[in-house]
Structure formats: C-alpha cells, structure tokens
Amino acid sequence: MTHMPSRRLFLQAGLAAGGGLLIGLRLPGHNRALAAPEVEPFAPNAFIRVAPDETITLIMSHTEVGQGVYTSACMLIAEELEVGLDQITAEHAPPNNALYADPFLGEQATGGSTSTRAGWKPLRQAGAAARIMLVQAAAEKWHVDPATCTAEHGVVHHTPSGRSLSYGKLASAAGLLPVPKDVTLKPASAFKLIGTPAKRIDTPAKVNGSLRFGIDVQVPGMKIGTVAASPVLGGKLISIDEAAARAILGVRDVVKLDNAVAVIGDHMWAAICGLKAAAPKWDDGPNAGLSSASIVQSLAAASDADGVEAHASGNAKAAIASVTKRLDAVYQLPFLSHAPMEPINTTLHVRPDGADVWLGTQVPPRTQAVVARITGLRPDQVTVHNHYMGGAFGRRLDVDSVEQAARIAKNLAYPVKLIWSREEDIQHDFYRPYYYDKVSAGLDVNGKIVGWLHRTTCSSVMARWLPAGMQKGGKLDPDTVECAVETPYEFPAQLNQFVQVENPGVIVAWWRGVGPTHNVFVVESAMDELAALAGVDPIEFRRRHLGKDPRARAVLDLVAEKSGWGQPLPKGTGRGVGLQIAFGSWLATVVEASVSERGEILLHNVYVVADVGPVVNPDTLAAQLEGGMIFGLSMAMYSEITHFKGRVEQSNFHDYRALRINEAPKVHVHIVNNPNAPIGGVGEAGTAAASAPLANAIFAATGRRLRRIPFATGQLSQA
C-alpha cells in the first residue's frame, strides 16, 4: 500500500481496499471561526475513489443540508479529472471505517466545511492529481511519454498508437504511483463543466419520497419515543403520572431524566399520547422569572457604557461631537429559533460494547464525542451514521439533543428513535442572540459622514461554542462585529465596540448568515437614515461613501439599473437598497414593497446582484440566493422568540411564522461575471442581505423607519 502525501497539495493517494485508486484530501473549514487548525498528521476528510468497475465516487464526511454542495463538489473534481458529471457519484462517508479511512489514518476523519468555497481549489487539485496518476499508469503500461497521452471522459488515449484504456482498468496501477508534487489547474477559459447549470445529483430521490433523512431511519427492533424537557431552562422534573403513560396502548417505556421525560412506544402516536398522559410537573428553577422585557432592559442598560474595542480609526466621538446633523439610533434584532423543516431527531442504539447513532448533523465529531461521554464508551466505539438534513440553518451545529438522546437511550436495551415535536423544537432551541445595537454618526455640511460609532450589546455564541475563537484575550467575539468593522464604506473616523451580556436563561447559537445577518441590517439601515438626513438619494449617498473597491460600485450600479431605481411607483410602494460584502461575496439588493392602509406589508420584487467571483453552478447559486433571501425576509417580517415566566412564548408555525408562497416576492438574481477573483460564499449571503432593504423600502413607502425586527407583527399599525 502506498501512502504518499503531498503536503503542498494536502493530498494523499493509495490503493483502495478492494482495488482502485483512492485519493484523500483535506477540505479546510469555510468559516474562519469554525476552522480547525490543520492537524498533524495529515487527516483527509474527503476521498475520491476510482474503482476497477469504472465507478468514481466522492466520499465526504461533510453533509448536505440543501445547498447542492455534493453537486458542486463533483463538478469541481470532474472538471480536472476529465469525466462527465454523470460518471461520478457522491456519498456520505460511510460508517465502515475500514474501507475508506484506514488506508490513511485508521479512523474516519471528519469536520471541515460543506461549502463550495472551501473545496474550490483542493477538489480541483485532487481531480487533477488523480488524472495525472491515471495517465501516468497508462503511459507506463504502454511505455510511452505521458505527455503524448490525453484523458477524456474517463478514458486515457494514446493518439499516436491509437490505444486507449478506461480509468477503471488503470485505477489499481495508478493507486501504486506517487502523488504528483504539484499540479497545474486549468484556466477559467478552459472550463467545460464549471460555470454550467448542471443538474443536481441529489434531487431525483427527493421527488419520490425515497430519500432518507435522519427522521426516516428504520432499524430492526427500533422503538419510537418523544420527549418533553423542562419548559424553563435549568428547571427540574418533579413528577409524572407514569401509570397513566404506561396505560396507553403501544407505550413500552418511560425514561425520566432530571430535566426531561421521554415516552417510548411502538410508534410516534403511542409516544405522543403517552407523554400527554404522563403530564409532567416541573420545578422551574432559577430562571423562572425570565422575561423578554427584563432581557431587553439588561441589554439596554449595559449598552450605555463603552465596550471592548473591536476597531478604532480616527477619533469618532470627537468627530461627531460638533456636527449639525447627526443620527443616534438603536436597532434591535430578536432571539430567533432555527425551525428547520425536519424536526430534531436522533436514533440511538447503546450496547455494552458500542453505540450506533443515526441522524443528520453538521458536526459528526461532536456527535461521536458526546455519545461517548454520556455512555462511557470510547469514541471509537461510537459509530455515527450521518444523513441528509431537512434544513439546519445552524441548528445542527449543536449536539444538545444528541446528549439528551444518549442519556435516554442508555437506559434502553433496544434502538430508539427520539423525535421532538415542533413545539419542543421551537421551545428548546439554542437561539440566535438578541442584538441591541447603538449607532451614532454625524454629517458635515456636504452631507458626508465624518464619524461613525457602532456598539453591539449581546451575548456571545463564540464564547460558548468555540472559546478558542474569541479575540482580545477572550473578550471580543469577532462574529458580533463581522460586517460592522468592515463595511463597504470608508469613514474618516470609526469606532466599533462589543458589550457582552450573558443571560443564564437562554443559550445562544449560530444562525444562518451569522454576524452579517445582524450587522448588515444595522449598517444598511443607518446608512439609509443618514441618506435621508443628508437629503440625498440612498444609492447616490452610498456611492459617495464607497472606498476604492470597484466590485462594490459595480454591484450597486447594476442593481440600480436592474431594479428600475428612481422610476415612479404607485403610492404606498417603495424601494429600498442594501449593499454588503460578506462571506467573500459582494451583494447589492433592492426590495420593492408596499404597505396597505391597515399596515400590512406586501413584498413585490427583490433584485439581487451578486459578485461571488468564479461561479461553479449558476443555477445552484441563483437557488441559494433566492432561498436565502426568502429565509431572510421571513425573519425580517415575522420571526421573534420571546420569553415570559422563563418560557418561550412561541410554539409552532402559527406563532413562529415563515413566509408562505402567497407572501413571497419575485426574486430576480443577476450574477456578475468575475471568474478570476477569489471564490465567495453564497449560502448565507442572501439571508444577510434581506432585512435592511426591506426596512428601507418601508421607509420609502411610508416615511416610517422600523429599527426593530420583526416588521410585520404590528409595528406599522401602532401609531
């Protein structure tokens, strides 16, 4: 077995178990906050297998949450490997460690990123390396110079002699060759597949119901359970009516934890009825008095004082001390639940000598670790079977539900699928933090911003989730100021601060769009307010404050053109603009909305212009922007988690609303062709871009400035 790592390329190659060529590669983390340091020894987290039977498989320990990453990853490999997209299939890293991971490390390596951005270079390099090795294998067989061979559609040709061999026939010989030290990648102009709207590969199983999400797992002997945890975080279970629960037909077991109860039965209905009959009583514990009003009060009070400095250039406080026109605004963004369509679920089988876990997770290693910790097993005795996820939006980056499931399942001799009700999902989420942001800015006589102060007051996800990601000696959570420190604009003086306020009654978590979803709303709302204060058109006002960045200007100019900016609209309708540089992508957005006399907000059109650098699949890119935009508008219109007496007040989609098709605007996506720039991310960009242009459109339509999300829950009907 040959193990020849190329550290330069972060590649390894060898002979696959069962024959054929196996390439292992390491995909870096997509979010600098989530990026793990490069580990030693080299640990691949994705594999490409060229098998003797001509199948080519990409095996990723990464997971598909709906953004089409499997398709994009296969496109990147296929481009350099010189195969068609129909010749390559993608798989979740299988639980079978022996087949894929053993040749390199002896364990299934996981982690890293699911994004196209992370794979842009490594996947192409891996495809190129595999192609070079296959060509080399053919050349050695024919005793010819590899430079005289060509590869096309999974076959190596030697044109001078008219010979050819398929990849499958060459794969095992190639598996014995060293990895090339360096590979030259095709220039963008030579791409055949990249940049085309190739069909997604995971979709056929999604139209006929055959695709299995975590919740669809079926294991022999499995029972099904549902759970109620203390409605107040930190509360304890006092008692249940166990006899009543067990009296329900089909109920098999009742498991009591200190802070939760699970009822397990032959099917979900028995479990649901059993849990209802159990009628748990709770001691609400130390957070019984928690309410949204008290949380907001504490944030507001803390926001009066200076915080940790995230950025300072010039003397912003002095600069705005004497201006004639200034803005002093408070923007508020609520706690949010993730509410992915697929409710939280975990299937577990705990045995004395090992455990199996079936679920869809964004963090397989954390899943394995938590099950090991709770069961007392070694991590290598815990096998994680990862599945497609019915959305995640950040929810499945946490393993609290897996921990709870393990505490329950270790009391049971059989496999159990534990499903949370939607109510449990919304009321026991880890929530996007509440942000209380103060912006002060001043204009000079020419309507130019002379100073900009932005102070964010909130709790920190980073401090909980990845303490090593904190900066300034653990005091600064960089996520809280992402897109606040770096804006598309240049201000002569700028000060950014972070005030950390932790709230014991609410655990906070990543949410789609992370820092930018928060800060783009604040910055782009404030810019709009300042434009109005200056009496300048909002797009023109932004243009005047742009730095030298040509990409920002280009997307802004194009969105003005595409949206018909400046052209007349009916009374009560307005256009609002937003501009952002986030996730390495440049986005300008115009939302066209109207407000009825009763104060209802109607969304008509959204124009998005995106410059993401090279485009792997324009159709997937457009879909991500459309979906991200709808997700962000849903949030801006309706989403808000509130607390009273320690409890979350929302419970299901009737009071934690999502935009429906009759409320959704048309979304027009325009992609700027910029193939030679670094590649940017898009999965979260649309969500971050949505709320500010909507607030700005409402202002244009009505003259009312909404500084608090959500907008459509009565703010406009209040005087």
Binding site: V65, G66, G68, K199, R200, D202, T203, P204, K206, V207, N208, G209, S210, L211, R212, F213, I215, D216, Q218, I224, L249, G250, H267, M268, W269, C273, A339, P340, M341, E342, P343, Y388, M389, G390, G391, F393, I419, S421, R422, T620, A623, Q624, E626, G627, G628, M629, I630, F631, S634, N652, F653, H654, A658, L659, R660, I661, N662, A664, K666, V667
Partner: protein
C-alpha cells in the same frame, strides 16, 4: 383493525382509531416519504391525497381514512399529473433540502388535477398551506406553470 387502501394496495393495520394516518404510514407501514413537520396542519409536509383531495395526514385519523383511497408521494408518480409535477420539479431544480417537497408535490399535483392551467392566484390558494423553510417558492411557482404547460 382498520383496512386502508394506500397507493392502490389494501393494508390492514391494528392501531387506535384516533391515530393520525401520518404515523400509520411512517411507523407502521414504513412509508417515510410523507413527512412530519408540525403536527397541527400548519406546514403541509404531511400532505397526502384522500380520494384525490389533498389533506394533512397529521390530523387525518385512521378511522376517517378507512375505506377511502390514500395516495402518497411513493405512489403519486403513477398518476399522469404526479409524474408531470415530479418532472417539472427536477427540470427546474426546485429542491433544496427537500424535506418539504413531498408535501409540496402532493399539493401541486392535486392543484393541476383540479385546475389544469392554474393562475398565480390559484397557486397561492392551493400552495399557501405548504411551508418551505429553504424558500423555494419562486421555483415552485415556476414548476407548476411548467407542468401545466407540459
């Protein structure tokens, strides 16, 4: 014991009369294409056809469904409208995570069966009970029009 006809096949199930068809399909008959999303008829993920009409199986009891024809996502492709909708869904790449889409396809199939050339308003009415958290509405609308034109 109840007798259900699912995708044309008769199935005997020994379950309580008030058990929703959603859980009978998923947990008793091992047909997991019909999805659980909310349990209170708010999201549409569990949509099936009962005698051809779209219904939320999370609230449809097995007692009420007995003796009627149930069609699920596993069987809807056998109908001409279902096949057309599934094809349009693939052609227009509607799916993102896909979790809501079985329900969307069931609602959309019922719509074009009832109204072979639906207007945007028809689509709003027929599809507003189906939530998609991934926000695929733009393409759902386009795919229904495409299927109707096919």
């Amino acid at each position: 014991m109840f007798e259900l006809t699912v995708n044309g096949t008769s199935r005997q199930v020994d379950v309580p009369a008030d058990m929703p068809v959603l859980w009978v399909l998923r947990d008793v008959l091992a047909m997991t294409g019909t999805k659980f999303g909310c349990g209170i008829a708010q999201c549409g993920a569990c949509t099936v056809h009962l005698d051809g009409n779209p219904v939320r199986s999370c609230l449809l009891t097995v007692g009420d469904a007995a003796g009627k024809q149930i069609t699920t996502i596993e069987g809807v492709g056998a109908t001409p409208e279902g096949a057309k909708i599934q094809k349009a869904w693939l052609d227009l790449e509607v799916m993102q995570c896909g979790y809501c889409q079985c329900g969307q396809i069931m609602s959309a199939t019922a719509l074009i069966k009832a109204k072979p050339t639906p207007t945007d308003t028809d689509i709003d009415e027929a599809m507003s009970g189906n939530i998609c958290r991934c926000g695929t509405y733009v393409r759902i609308r386009a795919a229904i029009h495409a299927a109707a034109a096919a």
